[in-house]
């Protein structure tokens, strides 16, 4: 009797349904995904949005936009430049690739606007550790100094086993095809002016030394430099609008796309790199629809070394906020 009553009283059928907790979790995820996947391509960058669709492995945007401010940027071995400010995009070399910091050949750096300064030590590193690194070489041990409107270079000219201390002086100009032309009007050997003699003999510097390297070639009395190819990979893209020599070095101004504007994050400080949009691979990690701020840990200038970024960033501290914005604070 009591048992029978219990049977009737206690019978109940379950209703299988999604629990409130997972429903809540999924609602929150949907809201977050709208933020994570929202394309935030910098203003003025036309074309990037004509990319693929969003998947779990791709933002669908095929280039990474970067803004650098007050940064010592180095490719490798001291070769680089000081960036006062640059708006750039990292562009894929192959359509199905990815911008991978471990493979600088996987992308090109297109400079849209801004200013970079090659200090004398940058120029020395460029020539001594990159341009003139081949054997046998005609020139070595370049020591460059700059002055308003002038650039001077001391180097060892190698002629059949002899090192001839040579000094060059000249001005810089931009050619019509947007190459830098170092127009040499002073040549000294052993401290003796010889430029007049060479010209009197109808000879040029190329009769003494042949220099034909990617992005750099010696002409009669001029050194022609293509900034797109002169540096270690990745190649640079974009025209120089103005080149000026001053006591602090060679200042290059770019203005191909003056209207490129970024949504710079709060707390960026005075010296930083900001990645906005596109997919960036580093450390084997892919930041999708990247929003990454790299800044120094103390109020000083950020140094960024592309070829050695792992060493530098492995000493950094990262944070990832719920909107997917990554902040990397460097230690050195």
């Amino acid at each position: 009797m009591r048992a029978a009553a219990l049977i009737a009283l206690l019978a109940a059928a379950p209703a299988l349904a999604e629990t409130p907790e997972i429903a809540r979790q999924q609602r929150e995820l949907d809201a977050r995904r709208e933020v994570w996947e929202a394309r935030d391509i910098p203003g003025g960058l036309v074309g990037a949005e004509a990319a693929g669709t969003v998947t779990s492995r791709s933002s669908g945007v095929n280039r990474v936009a970067l803004y650098l401010q007050n940064v010592n940027f180095t490719f490798t071995s001291g070769i680089g430049f000081y960036v006062r400010n640059l708006a750039v995009t990292l562009e894929l070399k192959t359509p199905d690739g990815i911008v991978d910091f471990d493979r600088p050949g996987s992308f090109a750096i297109r400079i849209h606007r801004g200013e970079a300064l090659l200090r004398p030590h940058h120029l020395n590193a460029l020539f001594n550790r990159h341009v003139l690194v081949y054997r046998p070489r005609a020139l070595s041990n370049m020591r460059i100094r700059t002055a308003p409107g002038r650039m001077y270079a001391e180097a060892d000219l190698h002629l059949r086993g002899f090192d001839i201390p040579t000094s060059l002086g000249g001005r810089l100009a931009l050619t019509r095809d947007n190459r830098l032309l170092y127009q040499i009007d002073e040549v000294e050997a052993f401290g003796i002016p010889v430029e007049w003699l060479l010209k009197r003999l109808g000879l040029g510097l190329t009769d003494l030394a042949s220099l034909e390297r990617p992005g750099v070639s010696l002409q009669s009395f001029a050194l022609r430099i293509d900034h797109r190819r002169a540096f270690p990979m990745p190649e640079l893209r974009g025209d120089i609008a103005r080149a000026r020599l001053g006591p602090d070095g060679l200042r290059l101004t770019f203005a191909d796309s003056a209207g490129v504007t970024f949504d710079l994050p709060e707390g960026r400080g005075e010296s930083f790199i900001w990645a906005q949009s596109g997919d960036l691979k580093f450390f084997g990690v892919v930041a999708l629809n990247a929003r990454i701020l790299v800044k120094p840990g103390a109020p000083r200038r950020l140094n960024f070394n592309l070829y050695d970024y792992r060493r530098q960033l492995s000493a950094a501290t990262g944070r990832l906020d719920e909107n997917g914005v990554m902040t990397i604070t460097t230690a050195d």
Partner: protein, 342 residues
């Protein structure tokens, strides 16, 4: 002009060729290839290799999933629902066979526990039953409470009786059945504070004649409550084969087995409590790791307490560090959830 021609010839002979290799670029590419090989080796775990099921790309390891190693850490699905993992090895795969394992979407992945033990504390079992298993309209029981002792699980709560709720209590053994199934056979039953054990026995009434107790992963059959332990938990979907099931003062202990389990890898950081992910592709928020090496630890150096549904605030309040080899150390802030597993 003979002298000029002679001088030109001499100078031409002295001029050096300007060809050279970009050794630095080649070295950089070799370094990248070596790093990629090292990363790919993370899929090899002793005798176990995470299968490659898709072509590799720059964004895809091609691997079936990732391997999760949980040592002495609280793994919560949500709030207090979860378990304490003791040397658990879990294969985690994306359900669609294409995506990375997405941390943020528990419904998109499957966990297959290969070895190790998990302990569901009495409080966690209580939370599991109330907030998940019997959290549906028309549930026949409520306000459940689990208590454990050596070889004894006590389940108490209220049963619905024509709109009124009657207190009940059941105590018995938990035993292992095949696969991921366990059985709870109450030997003592009390209703309204009075023992009903003898009455039911005398009336030859089985428990399932008293109450239709059915929920995802739970079904009362005769006098035995049969549970699929893998189906009890909230998403993600779980699967495992039990080697042992027992109850003691710490709670319900389940030990898993599989024909082949990976070797336990050495973690980057020497900690007593951590979760380590090796191999495959993992995505959290907007970040995807390919051929993953990630160690998750507590930022305060204590025991790791990971809450799957609510890990983002833990992550945002914590920090991460890259290692030279591409490994990632993630330090999670302690959850602000007061219902953390005891």
């Amino acid at each position: 002009m003979l002298w000029r021609a002679a001088l030109m010839a001499v100078l031409a002979a002295l001029a050096f060729p300007a060809e050279g290799r970009d050794a630095r670029a080649a070295a950089k590419n070799r370094q990248a290839a070596a790093l990629e090989r090292e990363a790919e080796a993370r899929n090899m775990l002793g005798a176990y290799t995470i299968p490659q099921i898709r072509p590799k790309t720059t964004r895809d390891s091609g691997r079936e999933g990732m391997m999760l190693f949980i040592r002495n850490a609280n793994f919560r699905f949500v709030r207090g629902v979860g378990f304490f993992g003791e040397d658990l090895i879990v294969a985690v795969n994306a359900n669609d066979g294409l995506s990375p394992v997405i941390f943020d979407d528990p419904q998109a992945v499957t966990l297959r526990v290969l070895s190790g033990s998990l302990v569901v504390s009495p409080q966690a079992l209580t939370d599991l039953l109330n907030s998940h298993v019997f959290n549906f309209a028309g549930a026949p029981v409520r306000n459940l409470r689990a208590a454990t002792a050596v070889n004894a699980l006590t389940l108490s709560g209220e049963m619905n009786r024509r709109g009124k709720w009657a207190p009940f209590s059941m105590t018995g053994l938990v035993t292992m059945e095949g696969g991921s199934r366990i059985a709870f056979a109450p030997a003592e039953i009390a209703i309204d504070g009075r023992s009903a054990t003898e009455l039911l026995k005398a009336a030859n009434v089985a428990l399932d004649e008293l109450i239709r107790l059915e929920a995802p992963g739970v079904k009362l059959e005769g006098d035995v409550i049969r549970m699929d332990a893998a189906a009890l938990f909230p998403p993600p979907k779980m699967a495992f084969d039990l080697a042992a099931a027992s109850v003691d003062a710490r709670g319900l202990r389940l030990t898993m087995t599989a024909p082949l389990a990976p070797a336990w890898p050495k973690p980057p950081l020497a900690r007593d409590s951590y979760a380590l992910i090796k191999g495959g592709d993992v995505k959290f928020l907007t970040v995807m790791t390919v051929n993953t090496l990630m160690q998750i630890v507590a930022a305060d150096g204590g025991a790791l307490d990971f809450s799957l549904y609510d890990y983002r605030p833990q992550l945002a309040a914590g920090t991460f560090q890259f290692r030279m080899d591409g490994g990632l150390i993630v330090s999670l802030a302690r959850s602000g959830d007061p219902e953390a597993l005891k």
